[in-house]
């Protein structure tokens, strides 16, 4: 019995010493922390603050900033949302120039125009401010990374999905939006490249228009009257589906439609078979991943890949419910409940 008591007492002493040693160490560390917290300010410049796509990206950026701030006790990440109300490249360039003087530690930007922003980005980088692009790149600038889609691949996916729907034969047209937009041109290149693999498919042309619902619908109807036997549309943007006008003008399922973007307002087109495939983009991740990459580079000093490609998600009637719930989780509002419970 005596031996047992001695062993027990010794063990208790060892445990007490270990616990007291650990506590001392913790106090020291906490003292350091309270003095050494660093705040990183990230200026986020999207294309337009009235576009829900970018509001979702903003939600992702803020969520990531909070998560990182919680994880690292010595770090606070703050996202400053500085986005023009409507697309304006020179306004974006002005915000970048201001950021060089307002204490910003890094910039993430979706470029409305390559030329105006490349020089602004280069100046910021030369002044020691790291810049990353998302969604829309300025590939010749000195930005350290780009996170977004491979537009040529996206164009190929559009074409391949459309070819499946029309059985690999028939006339198709491309709805192209703004002819000057480089990312849209890349998508059109991808469509054309993929179309060349289908001998039965005839591409009647690419058709441009101002990027709003009314103009897009008008252009569609004009082309369809020119080509009454048109079998399908490959749309590099979802403009004609930004309202309900198109539903009153075409017959569901008669002409197959495959389009980029699957925003809440477009979901009804899938439900009612006006559009068969929409390529959804994980817009929340634009902000989430970009903030994560900035912290990896400037705080954790990790090696960051220059190009991170996101893959679009084909949205059909089969995954309309899942996509609707995903949109809600990414901060989109106004999604009908009937889709959320699908």
């Amino acid at each position: 019995m005596k031996l047992k008591k001695i062993i027990t007492i010794k063990i208790l002493i060892v445990i007490l010493v270990l616990i007291s040693g650990c506590k001392e160490n913790n106090d020291e560390q906490e003292g350091k922390n309270s003095k050494g917290t660093k705040t990183i300010f990230i200026t986020m410049i999207a294309k337009s603050s009235s576009n829900p796509v970018f509001l979702s990206a903003k939600t992702g950026a803020i969520a990531q900033a909070l998560k990182i701030s919680e994880k690292y006790s010595k770090l606070d990440v703050v996202v400053n949302w500085k986005t023009p109300e409507i697309e304006n490249a020179s306004e974006q360039a002005r915000i970048i120039r201001n950021a060089m003087q307002d204490g910003t530690n890094a910039i993430i930007v979706s470029c409305s125009d390559i030329d105006s922003l490349t020089s602004a980005i280069d100046k910021a980088v030369d002044s020691g401010l790291p810049v990353m692009t998302f969604d829309s790149d300025a590939p010749d600038s000195k930005r350290f990374a780009f996170y977004g889609p491979d537009d040529i691949e996206m164009g190929k996916t559009l074409m391949n999905e459309l070819a499946k729907l029309i059985g690999g034969k028939g006339k198709i047209a491309i709805l192209g939006g703004n002819k000057e937009a480089p990312n849209l041109q890349e998508r059109i290149k991808g469509i054309k490249k993929a179309a060349s693999d289908y001998k039965g498919i005839e591409l009647v042309g690419e058709f441009y228009h101002p990027e709003n619902e009314t103009e897009a619908v008008a252009e569609m109807l004009r082309v369809q009257s020119l080509y009454p036997d048109l079998k399908g549309w490959a749309m590099v943007g979802g403009w004609p589906m930004f309202g309900k006008e198109l539903m009153n003008k075409i017959e569901p399922g008669k002409i197959k439609i495959v389009a980029v973007d699957a925003l809440p307002v477009q979901l009804e087109y899938i439900e009612k078979n006006f559009a068969q495939v929409l390529l959804g983009q994980p817009t929340f991740k634009w902000g989430e991943v970009s903030v994560g990459m900035v912290i990896d580079k400037i705080y954790l000093h990790k090696k960051v890949d220059e190009l991170i490609r996101l893959s679009p998600i084909p949205i059909t009637l089969k995954n309309l419910g899942g996509w609707s719930r995903q949109l809600r989780a990414w901060g989109y509002e106004g999604i009908p409940e009937k889709y959320l419970i699908m």
């Binding site: 959804g280 949205i315 899942g322 949109l327």
Partner: protein
């Protein structure tokens, strides 16, 4: 005594609270060692950049060595004759060395190649699992023999299982501890320190069952030790081992318990990942933070419910017997599993928490009742063979559990692919994929729970039978004790 009345545990059969507590400390160590590598292995991938496939291999290979070492250790322990007992010396030595090995195997130096880390950790793991077996197999067997009483066994297993849950409460915090930049520069340094803390804890706490418990079957000091030649002894041991192994795995009542455990436990384990995926991607629409919050709450409710279930099951089994209690508890798990179908509601994510307490009841009951029931089987085995083989029964039972777990994890990934799940799509999986994920998540544990109930339904060692067996064994022991002195004289 009426057959409907339960037996009262005699004073001489009671295990003191101190002994129960000391044995329960072994459960904390056992569960901690069993789970720690799994919870810390993320560092091998995230911190050291080892390919996830290699990390998986590192966890799988020791399972193969376990298949051999566990029954051998059971045999060695069963056949050890020393004045300190058949179990306690191994528990004492095993705890110290397994703690030391655990601390050392995580002291991975910086700046080496992936294959260096692979081999370093693999060799460390094999040595670690060897010492783990030396500790755990005799510790499990010790629990089966601390008392000969039908109810006291359940009480002991209840205390053991209750205390063991505290390891499972601690384990999920390991990653946050290792990643905490207040203490460590990176997760690898965190793992090194955590391993030392665990190693010291294991070595200090793990020896407690060896020091503070009393074995019932200790060799007599006067026992005659027969010296044999090494190879003759080895041959004899191999023959005896094989014979013992065959008898053990042919014991029908034991197989029923193994089957019950295998199906109930692995049914739940198999769909563990599914529940997380459905909660995150279906219920929470791909919102990983919200999903993680609900999974955390689910885990907390499960833990609290398991602790409550262990207490309740221990008490109920003393009133209605182990078999009936197991069937009721497992039925609750089955109902809880079926209830999940209604509770996966994207419009009300909180409903995922409703089935948690029901599912926990079966799991809380499982390792409380099974340990106690295996002890009853050991008595039956002794009655029919004249030998006590707690080590062999325990090692085969736990090896079956570990193997089942490994199979469940492997099959889980295969089933997830079969549902059509595409990770890049996040919450935007097809309705058909979500439907099949829910079918698997609800259907498999419901069916396996039913199989577990059917397996144990015909288990024959009732309370009455158990006391009859015990009475026979005691008569036999008295007979041997009275004959042996005559032979020695």
């Amino acid at each position: 005594m009426s057959s409907k009345e339960s037996h009262k545990t005699a004073e001489k059969d009671r295990i003191s609270k101190g002994q129960k507590f000391a044995y329960g400390l072994g459960a904390i160590v056992n569960n901690l060692l069993g789970g720690a590598i799994g919870y810390m292995s993320i560092v091998l991938n995230v911190g050291l950049g080892i390919n996830p496939a290699l990390v998986g291999t590192l966890q799988a290979i020791p399972r193969l060595t376990d298949a051999l070492t566990d029954p051998i250790m059971g045999y060695i322990s069963d056949n050890t004759r020393s004045k300190y007992g058949r179990r306690r010396p191994y528990i004492f030595i095993g705890a110290i060395f397994v703690g030391l090995t655990f601390a050392l195997m995580w002291q991975l130096p910086a700046g080496y190649s992936e294959m260096f880390y692979f081999w370093f950790f693999l060799i460390g793991s094999i040595i670690f699992y060897l010492f783990y077996t030396i500790f755990a197999t005799p510790w499990v067997a010790l629990g089966y023999e601390l008392t000969s009483d039908y109810h006291e066994r359940t009480l002991l297993m209840g205390v053991m299982n209750f205390m063991g849950q505290f390891a499972w409460i601690t384990l999920p915090w390991f990653y946050a501890f290792m990643e905490n930049d207040r203490f460590f520069s990176d997760s690898v340094q965190g793992a090194r320190t955590l391993a030392i803390i665990i190693g010291v804890f294991v070595a200090v706490v793990g020896i407690m069952p060896a020091i503070f418990t009393r074995e019932r079957f200790v060799a007599d000091d006067k026992e005659v030790k027969v010296k044999t030649k090494f190879f003759a002894g080895l041959k004899k041991n191999i023959v005896e081992f094989s014979k013992g192994l065959m008898i053990t795995i042919k014991r029908v009542e034991f197989l029923k318990l193994c089957s019950g455990t295998f199906f109930l436990f692995n049914g739940i384990m198999l769909v563990g990942a599914f529940s997380s995926y459905i909660t995150i991607f279906y219920v929470c629409g791909g919102d990983t933070d919200l999903g993680a919050k609900y999974m955390g709450l689910f885990g907390t409710i499960t833990t609290i419910s398991t602790l409550a279930a262990i207490v309740a099951v221990t008490w109920i089994s003393s009133k209605i017997g182990k078999r009936k209690t197991f069937i009721i508890a497992t039925s609750m798990t089955m109902i809880g599993s079926i209830l999940k179908w209604l509770c996966y509601d994207p419009m009300a994510p909180w409903k995922v928490l409703i089935p948690a307490p029901l599912i926990a009841i079966g799991m809380g009951a499982l390792f409380t009742l099974m340990g106690s029931m295996i002890a009853d089987v050991c008595d039956l085995d002794e009655l029919e063979t004249g030998e006590r083989r707690e080590g062999m029964f325990g090692s085969i039972y736990w090896w079956m559990v570990k193997l089942g777990m490994a199979l469940a994890f492997g099959l889980s990934g295969f089933l997830l692919n079969a549902t059509g799940f595409v990770v890049d799509f996040g919450g935007a999986q097809t309705s058909s994929t979500f439907f099949w994920m829910r079918i698997v998540d609800v259907g498999i544990p419901a069916i396996t729970s039913l199989i577990a109930i059917l397996s144990v339904a015909s288990y024959k060692i009732t309370e009455e039978k158990s006391y009859e067996i015990r009475s026979e064994l005691e008569k036999r022991r008295i007979k041997i004790q009275t004959v042996e002195p005559l032979i020695q004289n």
